[in-house]
Symmetry: C2
Subunit: 208 residues, 2 copies
């Protein structure tokens, strides 16, 4: 039985997006081309242009997907949710090409036109919500400014993953995140908060 037209279109769009992610992940924005993406996706020019008109449009669609992974990973809110989110994201960077490509595009997006920090601001917003919850749960020290620290953490995380990618293709990212938290938690968490926080494995604690 033939696949209904609409379903086929949805599937084709996904195939193109995945192929675009693979190509952006490998070559960066400048090194990618719409013809490389067409070949990887095995679609015709007509099929491509039905969904995406330009390389820029493809990059924007890949970048827009970043929020899908940001929005639902944490099981709880607060300090533990914040820590979990950083490790969950590390996991996504190794296993999810769409997410990895979107992060590369965000870091290198000077490449594709006017600077746009939307992806960063959405992260700030997400981390801010965790920090607000942490505050309500008595996990934050009184002099922590939730919005300021959310900005600091987005910067620190961004560079930690860039460094880890270049040093080890992300193999050492979990270890680098443990180190990062070791030097942030004393500045932000109450002793109660620190005593509660666990590494994702559940076997270790950050508490001093």
């Amino acid at each position: 039985m033939a696949e209904p037209k609409q379903e086929r279109a949805v599937r084709t769009r996904e195939v193109i997006l995945t192929a675009a992610a693979e190509i952006f992940d490998e070559f960066g924005y400048s090194g990618a081309s719409i013809s490389k993406i067409m070949t990887r996706a095995n679609v015709t020019q007509g099929g491509m242009y039905f969904h995406f008109k330009s390389k820029r449009e493809l990059a924007q669609a890949v970048l827009a997907h970043q929020q899908e992974f940001v929005a639902h990973p944490a099981e709880g809110f607060g300090l533990q949710g914040l820590v979990d989110l950083t490790f969950f994201t590390a996991h996504q960077l190794t296993g999810n090409v769409l997410f990895r490509a979107s992060v590369r595009l965000a870091v290198e997006q000077g490449e594709f036109g006017p600077s746009d920090d939307t992806a960063y601001q959405e992260w700030v917003e997400q981390l801010y919500l965790h920090l607000r919850a942490a505050r309500e749960q008595g996990e934050l020290l009184s002099d922590v400014d939730e919005r300021e620290f959310a900005n600091v953490l987005v910067g620190a995380y961004t560079g930690t993953q860039v460094f880890s990618n270049i040093a080890s293709a992300y193999a050492d990212l979990p270890e680098r995140l443990v180190s990062m938290w070791r030097y942030f938690l004393p500045a932000i968490a109450t002793s109660q908060g620190r005593a509660r926080v666990r590494l994702p494995s559940g076997t270790e604690r950050f508490a001093a």
Copy 2:
């Protein structure tokens, strides 16, 4: 009087390097081309190939310059030297195109071949020396691992400048660095160390 041949060659090399930095800074590695750089430097193909054989060689020369700026900025060693270095580097990012291009190449260097974290490791080494000095001066808390924190700081700094570049073309980088230090110092510095540390302006203190 004609300029001696050797001096002229040295000058031409510098003109080419600066032009290469400008082009890498604007277009990234992939978007740059040796012909764009030749046009910017106003040199002939012969002049270019006398000094540099490929775009990759040019990028490596620009990247190698990064250490010139890392090596001599700090006036003192220890915690103050470490803090000063981060602000000095922020200043270099806005005013020094060779440095700015080298940082862009380091962040995006997946673009030009096999991953190479040399630039990052040189930073780690530099920061490590400051942290060792800070330790000797009684400025570090006992549970700080100097090498681990040097790695954390390189990651955090890298991402902070990426975020600042995209958000504000580096205009807000000093402010972001003040925030970053606000959340690192309590985790690494003794009260004695914190009381001593000053912002570059000399008018404010980080001490709580």
